[in-house]
């Protein structure tokens, strides 16, 4: 990005006391530009070149404008437009300036280009300053300030404040001016703009001088000088500063100090060539101070030298002050006619250039000098002074109103911003709360689901355990019944049979030997029957390991059921070493479920014709194998079914280890161990 420097010059004549003072305020403006094409930049440069005639410059500006119109509309165009408008103002083409500036303004509005909005306002304020319409100028400065402030362009915002302070100072609204300049100073300090700080403190010092606070004025002047020392290119500012300092001492009545200040400034021989206007001002001021200090040496020559220079420069403000001084000089030294002559001349000139202050000063002077028309002059003075004060008060009120509106606007913006922040914060808060609530809800439902699942599982296990217990009870009852039958056989039937047999044996039976033999044979038969019954009774009673039977029985039953459904034959090897009674019910429940899943797989997918279930124990670990001769599957390629996953998760829950081996068309083996 190429930066180009344009100089905008505003000449604002300074208020100043009866004495003198004109001040030139130079302002430096940097406009950002894109290295866009081209010719526009070149033409703009040419149009700014003051060595070219106004006609040529105008031609370049028009060319630039026409080329610009062809471009697509964007912020570059709006900024360029504003710049061209300003250049038209510089060559005093107010018609083109106004239409172009308005165009730039409208475009900026459309593009929401705040910078250009501010810049066009600045252009307007320059335009009105040139036309001496200060209230309108002030209004536009204020607008420009608001826009620069809103985009945080601190430097330009400070510049606007400075210009506004200047205008208010011009209308003797010293407090208003002071407030603005202090705001500007704080911004400049932050930006470390030494030259601007010098100008601002200088302005502040002049304000204090106008208020008669000479010590304060000197303090600020000193500050201004400090900042000036930090500026590299002083360009006569040093002498100008000395002039300002001298004037403060002059107003304070410390004429000797004032003279020494002016002397120091005039000691620079090159000043006469570098800044002849300032040189003239300095010798005029020194001569006038000498006059008040009753030192008449050479002062008449000096007054005339200054007047001659100012005349040649067409410095009318300077000339006006100069002749006022001369009038006083002649008055002091008794030449009333010359004094009146210069007084009247000053009066006319002041009226011509609308220098109210000097006009008043000339009237006052004349009222003292011109004995015959003294009263007339005095009346004129009073009337004009009144109207001036009135006008000043009016304009001051206007400034205050504009400022107040700005304050109101700022306050409104602040409130709006605050409201926005509140809305944002509340919105975010509500959103966060909603999100939290949602999150909590989700979490809660998740927990509930988990609890439900756990409960379900527990219920399942309880049901199973209940079933087991029921089975155990059933088994127990069965055994009891068996025992009862066994006892009945043993004690009842057997006893009676025994009694019958022995009783029969002792019957004195008579008959053939065959009959007796037969009798004996039947007795023996009876004894054998007794023996058989006893054996049956014993077998019925032979029932230890009741509860151990349960789990294995259940598994057996289960296998039998499944084998019927799945149409397979099964083999169940249960190692005698496993004390099922002592194994935790939880393990048994899970084992049962695992076997359910495994057999389900055998039936559903494997189409097995043989299933082998093997329970054994090794190092206090249950080793279980489920082997089938089904179709098998490729373990890696097949995504694990829910069945296998369930089996795995159940085994892992019991801290067990799970393996599965499978071969296509050869079958599948599930092998796992569970610690007990």
């Amino acid at each position: 990005m190429k930066l180009k420097v344009i100089y905008k010059t505003i000449a604002i004549c300074l208020l100043l006391s009866i004495v003198i003072q004109g001040c030139h305020l130079k302002k430096e403006v940097k406009l950002q530009q894109e290295p866009i094409n081209d010719s526009i930049s070149v033409w703009m440069k040419l149009s700014k070149n003051k060595s070219n005639s106004l006609v040529v410059r105008e031609k370049f500006l028009k060319k630039s404008y026409e080329t610009l119109k062809l471009r697509q509309i964007d912020t570059v165009v709006s900024r360029k437009l504003s710049e061209i408008a300003y250049q038209f103002l510089n060559i005093n083409d107010t018609i083109n300036f106004k239409s172009l500036n308005e165009e730039a303004y409208q475009l900026a509005l459309k593009l929401k280009d705040t910078f250009t909005l501010a810049d066009t306002h600045w252009n307007y304020s320059n335009y009105y300053t040139n036309r001496l319409v200060y209230d309108s100028a002030y209004h536009h400065y204020n607008k420009a300030y608001e826009f620069f402030e809103s985009i945080n362009h601190e430097y330009y915002a400070a510049k606007m404040l400075y210009n506004m302070a200047f205008i208010r100072g011009r209308f003797r609204d010293y407090t208003g001016s002071e407030g603005l300049i202090i705001q500007a100073i704080s911004k400049y300090k932050f930006l470390k703009k030494h030259k601007a700080l010098y100008s601002s403190y200088n302005h502040l010092s002049i304000l204090q001088k106008e208020l008669g606070e000479y010590d304060k004025a000197l303090f600020y002047h000193k500050k201004a000088t400090e900042y000036l020392n930090k500026v590299r290119e002083k360009k006569g500012l040093y002498e100008s500063s000395l002039n300002d300092g001298g004037l403060i001492y002059h107003d304070k009545g410390a004429y000797k100090m004032a003279i020494s200040y002016f002397n120091v400034a005039l000691n620079n021989d090159s000043l006469k060539f570098k800044n002849i206007k300032l040189y003239a001002k300095l010798i005029d001021n020194r001569a006038y101070t000498k006059l008040l200090n009753k030192d008449s040496v050479n002062i008449k020559q000096e007054f005339y030298e200054a007047l001659k220079i100012r005349d040649s420069l067409e410095d009318r403000e300077g000339v006006l002050i100069n002749i006022l001084h001369l009038s006083e000089y002649y008055n002091t030294y008794g030449d009333t006619i010359s004094a009146i002559y210069f007084g009247k001349k000053a009066n006319v000139l002041a009226k011509e250039i609308k220098n109210n202050r000097d006009y008043l000063a000339s009237l006052k002077l004349l009222s003292n000098l011109d004995v015959r028309n003294g009263k007339e002059h005095l009346n004129k003075y009073i009337v004009f002074n009144d109207s001036l004060l009135h006008a000043e008060r009016k304009i001051q009120n206007k400034f205050t109103r504009i400022s107040y509106e700005t304050d109101e606007y700022i306050e409104e913006t602040r409130i709006l911003v605050q409201q926005k922040i509140w809305i944002l914060v509340t919105g975010l808060g509500v959103l966060l709360a909603l999100f939290l609530m949602y999150f909590l809800k989700v979490q809660q439902s998740k927990n509930e689901r988990l609890i439900l699942e756990t409960e379900q599982q527990q219920a399942n296990e309880e049901i199973y355990i209940l079933t087991l217990k029921q089975q155990a009870k059933l088994e127990e009852e069965k055994i009891k019944e068996r025992n009862r039958i066994s006892e009945e056989l043993h004690d009842g039937v057997l006893g009676k049979l025994f009694g019958t047999r022995v009783g029969l044996g002792f019957l004195d039976i008579k008959g053939s030997s065959d009959t007796l033999k037969q009798h004996h044979f039947f007795l023996n038969e009876l004894q054998d029957i007794e023996k058989e019954i006893r054996e049956v009774s014993h077998k019925l009673n032979n029932n230890f390991n009741i509860s151990e039977i349960n789990f294995v029985t259940i598994i057996n039953q289960f296998l039998e059921n499944k084998s019927k459904i799945g149409n397979f034959t099964y083999q169940f090897n249960n190692s005698e070493d496993i004390a099922w009674r002592r194994i935790d019910e939880k393990i048994k429940v899970n084992l049962y479920r695992i076997l359910q899943e495994a057999l389900q797989n055998c039936i559903k997918y494997a189409e097995a014709s043989i299933v082998i279930l093997d329970f054994s124990i090794e190092n206090r670990k249950l080793v279980i194998k489920v082997i089938d001769n089904g179709v098998g599957f490729v373990i890696k390629s097949s995504k694990k079914g829910i069945g296998i996953k369930n089996i795995k998760s159940r085994i892992e829950k019991l801290n067990g280890v799970f393996h599965i081996y499978s071969e296509i068309n050869k079958g599948t083996t599930i092998h796992f161990t569970i610690p007990i």
């Binding site: 006893g495 002792f506 007794e530 006893r534 070493d577």
Partner: protein
């Protein structure tokens, strides 16, 4: 030989059986005229005990008691079986000869009856034929004891074994064999659960059984004649 009258008490809850015993005694006296019997029959513990007390109080002699082990218990439940009656007999009428006649043939019970009553005759009903019954009666009168075949077999087994099992060991094995639960054992035996476990381990060592399970132990114990 003196014509002696032997006083006999038959205790059996089956009239059929007591009648059979009676026939046996009659048969003996018919064969040998010098022996005669005066036979009393009772069918339950209360009657039997009353009778025994009567003999004891009157200082009368009771020669032989035929005693069944499984009997309905006495009404006051102090006498639960023939075994208890046998104990009372030993105490009240020490000179009376007792013939145990039972259907029990499990080794544990036989052993325990031996230990508590030390009968003069021990008959397992299934072994007995009328002939044998006669021999038994005669032997007990003349030269006791008489043991039937199963009892002799058991005694032989025990003698040939080196195992030394005390009463608690035997009870434990017996209780396990009838399926008593581990947690109920301390109520039956003067042992804690840990004590029971310890004894079981010890028994497994004795019978050289390595499995954790009790089944093996019980099978071994049964073959060795302890239950």
């Amino acid at each position: 030989m003196d014509n002696k009258i032997h006083k006999v008490l038959i205790i059996d809850d089956h009239p059929l059986i007591s009648e059979a015993y009676k026939s046996a005694f009659n048969y003996v006296s018919k064969e040998d005229k010098t022996i005669s019997f005066k036979i009393e029959v009772t069918h339950n513990c209360d009657e039997a005990f009353d009778m025994i007390k009567k003999f004891s109080v009157n200082n009368k002699k009771l020669d032989i008691v035929f005693l069944d082990i499984r009997l309905p218990p006495s009404k006051d439940e102090k006498i639960l079986s023939g075994e208890d009656l046998g104990l009372k007999l030993n105490k009240l009428l020490p000179n009376t000869k007792i013939i145990i006649s039972t259907t029990f043939n499990d080794n544990y019970r036989i052993h325990s009856i031996f230990k508590s009553i030390n009968p003069d005759g021990f008959l397992i009903k299934n072994d007995i034929t009328p002939k044998e019954l006669v021999i038994a009666i005669k032997t007990v009168i003349v030269d006791p004891p008489y043991y039937s075949k199963s009892v002799v077999k058991l005694l032989r087994k025990e003698v040939s074994n080196d195992f030394l099992l005390d009463k608690i060991d035997r009870t434990l094995l017996y209780e396990l064999s009838i399926g008593t639960k581990m947690k109920d054992l301390p109520k039956i035996l003067p042992l804690s659960i840990a004590g029971v476990e310890k004894r079981k381990r010890h028994l497994k060592q004795i019978f050289n059984v390595e499995t954790v399970d009790d089944k093996e132990l019980l099978i071994k114990a049964r073959t060795k004649g302890f239950i």
